[in-house]
């Protein structure tokens, strides 16, 4: 059963590439876990397909979702992708914790190579296929509504970005079923990932998944930046934009400048592996230090790409749930912009230990600490926003408070790591793992979850269940502290990261506590899904279709929940910050428009899904050296793009009467709703119509 099955057609695919065959031949617990994961993917896929077929929903999905170029639907699909990938990555994180808790002077449950795949997929998925889709989806949904626009600047490009990301995530899932993934970690450092040391398909899966994802993100960045520059409604000057739009702008700029170094780095690694180049090999003049620089030239701005949108969410949430304008808007904007610019000046802190001179290390260490200042300013700005406000402890607000207090601790350990002499001690240890989870879980995950709870009623017209939300929140927080605080101690004791086996019994109690924490985090994830289920079931009781459940401040709350395809029946005009909040106070919110006009909206397009499928197929073919399929896939991509440029009928008209009908129907509901005070916003009395104190 050894050897390639059919080299011309299937490239280097072997029977043993399939985990089922491996588990059959050699049924160790390790192989069984691998085969079990593959089974879950296959059964999950088959089940989903069967379910959709049984419900007869293919046409609906294709027409209303997959081919849609509506920024709201694309946003929702991004978030769905993020949740699916998050589920896998959280389970992998828990599995790693279980391995380390059981592998103290014992082999544990998985083999070292399997463990290495786990941390590589966990890290790559969390960053590229959980965090990035989540924030891209959030921006997609919210930002155009907040600036009073009908869509993003390039709706089709938006769909292409989504499908490239989806295709890349698909490659990640396929790697569970066919072949194996890289063992080189989320950073894929050569020379370890070069052919000489990793001749198998793993690094190729990593290269193509990350490359596709990075191209998708670059395109999203361009799209968002142009949208903010060009598509703001009348009166929406830059300094009147909600802070979430500012953080989106900064994130987009970072995406535009920071993703290309990654694409270049993975492309160069691909040239090394496929065409015998020597960019990063040990021999013939290759130098892996160039890779380290390129990768982190992307990697550091990347962490701000991840964190800034969450900062935007917190700004919205804290201000809304304190019933108060954001404190120090101008200083927030300055701080956000400074963070974005400075994030390009610190990448070297990821390799203080590469042997460069002390002065270089010190310079980058100081630059790193300097970013702490604007970041600290933002935290204080949120505190002063609550100051003299009326704070409501809704779920998004709970996440915001937990974020502020937890993120500060991560910032402290960040300053420790910014000191090169201290970094020498804890770099590459669990201290570092604790630090970046301490930044990313509050600074990204909590933010996205806060945004999810906050804008869900806008997107679907009903609120999420509060009790399950609180339970999930409690588990995310308690689980985080239990799972990651012990890692600081273990790291200070010198325990290396990415360790599959432990030979130090003294680590045991800490690994046990971390393991319990990981299980609580798993419970948090489950609670989120239960919450969604419960909320859908009791949706009739929690409808807020009037559209403004939280006494919101931005334009997104001035329309129905969910909004119509074209967002605004008539494009708004604003005359200040927090426009909707102000007009509610001035009594000129919800004024019916003088007249309705025809609205032009982009037509659906199959180009996005086609490009996603073709590029994933090309990636898969390249991984397995199925050259015919790779050539076919690339040709298909080129032909699709050319063919699309011949299609000139790309828009359709929603007639004025239709717009009027929809708008009046919503207004009827609006005026039939009972306005409620803020104390009642988490009860069924909330129909999305806010009582405005005189």
């Amino acid at each position: 059963m050894n050897g390639a099955i059919s080299p011309t057609i299937l490239g280097r695919l072997e029977w043993l590439s399939l985990p089922f065959v491996r588990a059959w031949q050699n049924p160790t617990p390790d192989e069984l876990i691998g085969a079990g994961a593959a089974t879950i993917v296959v059964v999950g896929m088959a089940g989903t397909i069967a379910l959709i077929t049984a419900l007869g929903k293919w046409r609906y999905l294709w027409r209303d979702w997959f081919t849609s170029v509506d920024h709201k639907k694309i946003g929702i699909m991004y978030v769905v992708l993020a949740f699916v990938m998050m589920s896998r990555a959280v389970v992998e994180g828990v599995l790693m914790r279980m391995q380390q808790a059981t592998a103290i002077n014992a082999p544990g449950i998985v083999e070292p190579d399997h463990f290495a795949q786990l941390f590589s997929t966990h890290g790559s998925i969390m960053i590229f296929f959980m965090a990035m889709p989540f924030l891209t989806g959030m921006i997609n949904y919210v930002m155009p509504l907040q600036i009073g626009s009908r869509d993003v600047a390039f709706p089709l490009l938006n769909s292409i970005s989504l499908w490239l990301t989806g295709g890349a995530a698909g490659l990640m899932m396929v790697s569970l079923v066919i072949g194996q993934f890289s063992t080189g970690g989320w950073s894929g450092y050569p020379p370890y990932t070069e052919l000489e040391f990793s001749p198998d398909v793993g690094p190729d899966y990593w290269i193509w998944a990350v490359t596709l994802g990075s191209i998708g993100s670059t395109l999203s960045g361009l799209n968002f930046a142009v949208t903010i520059y060009k598509m703001r409604c009348a009166g929406m000057t830059m300094m009147r934009m909600p802070l979430f739009c500012w953080t989106t702008l900064c994130t987009s700029i970072l995406m535009i400048f920071a993703m290309p170094p990654l694409t270049v780095a993975t492309a160069m690694l691909a040239l090394d592996r496929y065409l015998g180049f020597h960019f990063f090999t040990n021999d013939l003049g290759g130098n892996m230090m160039n890779y380290a620089n390129l990768f982190w030239l992307f990697g550091h701005p990347e962490v701000y790409i991840l964190i800034l949108p969450a900062f935007g969410v917190y700004s919205e949430v804290v201000s809304t749930f304190s019933s108060k304008e954001l404190y120090g808007y101008r200083s927030m904007v300055i701080a956000t912009m400074s963070i974005a610019v400075m994030s390009f000046t610190v990448w070297l802190h990821h390799f203080f230990t590469m042997g460069q001179s002390a002065s270089i290390n010190a310079a980058f260490g100081i630059a790193t600490m300097a970013i702490g200042v604007p970041t600290g300013v933002k935290i204080y700005d949120w505190i002063w926003t609550m100051f003299m406000g009326q704070v409501r402890f809704t779920v998004p607000m709970l996440y915001s408070l937990a974020f502020m207090m937890t993120f500060v601790l991560g910032g402290l350990t960040g300053i420790i790591l910014a000191f090169p002499p201290l970094d020498y001690l804890v770099h590459n240890t669990l201290f570092l793992v604790a630090h970046f989870h301490n930044m990313l879980i509050p600074g990204l995950l909590y933010g996205m979850l806060a945004g999810y709870h906050y804008w869900f009623p806008k997107a679907f017209g009903f609120r999420l269940n509060e009790k399950w939300g609180q339970l999930a929140f409690g588990c995310w927080v308690v689980g985080f502290y239990l799972a990651f605080m012990p890692l600081y101690v273990l790291g200070a004791a010198g325990m290396a990261r990415r360790t599959a086996e432990i030979f130090e019994p003294a680590f045991r109690p800490w690994l046990y506590v971390a393991g319990i924490g990981a299980l609580i985090l798993l419970a948090a994830l489950v609670a989120l899904f239960v919450q969604l289920w419960v909320s859908i079931r009791e949706r009739e009781a929690n409808r807020v279709d009037a559209g403004d459940p939280w006494d919101g401040r931005g334009l997104e709350w001035s329309i129905a929940g969910p909004p119509p395809e074209y967002n605004f029946a008539v494009l708004p005009t604003v005359s200040g910050g927090d426009p909707f909040y102000t007009s509610k106070r001035n009594g000129d919110a919800y004024l019916p428009p003088e007249r309705y006009e025809n609205i032009e909206v982009p037509k659906n397009s199959v180009v996005g899904p086609l490009l996603g499928v073709f590029s994933a197929a090309t990636g898969f073919a390249l991984v397995w050296h199925m050259w015919w399929l790779a050539i076919l896939g690339m040709l298909a991509i080129i032909i699709t793009v050319i063919a699309r440029s011949f299609i000139r009928d790309t828009h359709r008209i929603v007639s004025a009467t239709e717009v009027e009908r929809v708008d009046l129907a919503w207004r009827d509901k609006l005026f039939a709703s009972r306005s409620i005070s803020r104390e009642m916003e988490t009860t069924s009395a909330n129909q999305g119509f806010a009582e405005v104190a005189a």
Binding site: D283, A370, G376, M388, P420, L425, N428, V489, A506
Partner: protein, 287 residues
Amino acid sequence: MAASRFLGLIAILALPALSGCAVLRLGAMDAAGPIAEAQRNLYFLLAIVLIFVAGPVLVLTPLIAWHYRISNKHSTFRPKWVFSWWLEGLIWIPPAGIVIGLSFLLWNYTQRLDPYRPIAASQPPLEIQAVALDWKWLFIYPEEHIAAMNELAIPVSRPVRISLTSGTVMQAMLIPRLAGQIYAMAGMRTELNLAASQPGVYRGGNVQFNGTGFAKQKFDVIALSPSDYEGWLAAVRAAANPLDPSAYAQLFEKTTPAQPILFSSAPEGLFQKILSRYQDPDMKVHR
């Protein structure tokens, strides 16, 4: 009865905490040499400053959120209050001041604890050449013409200057109780200066993932009194286990020896040979 059960419960809870703290003795918190000691002191100094950085946020966030909760009818509500120059100064200037102050500390300590900086001492440093391999370490003693695999014996109090390279992928050598880590890369030489101030056995290892055997790639640093060190050298030389061509070839196999291996002699220029190994035109390492 109930009381004793209660005490038992406390004991069960306290035990892991107590035994848990022992873990820190494996790291730089229990420094065994001047470099790690300086790093630990820097850590404590920084920790004190950082308490003042984080303290206000940790106190103010819950306090303000709770005081201004909507159900508290006695708190002021001023929705239009959005700016104060005083507060603005307070949140920009002191943090910036702290960072400027810390910058001096950082610059100073980074220069002082540069891994390349020789340690001042009355004796010349002991030269060691460390080679990172899959999945083991080779330590060459160029002046003594011996070598040791997965064991590094050094005399107490004498500075040690370690030159590092890799015979394979990039790795990082960390001996937490003695000094911080530095990378070892093929074709390149990096350097780490350290010293032990008390006799003892200190754990060291590779902390940069390099494949299946990564977790096992550990070694002991044995710090000996000068006379014991001489004894160790004599014993190694007496063992008649030279690092001959067949032993050299085995270096590049992906294995971890079960026990440390001591080589009674090592060829001249071995480190240099490994350093330039990838430049050797006869060597078909790629493909």
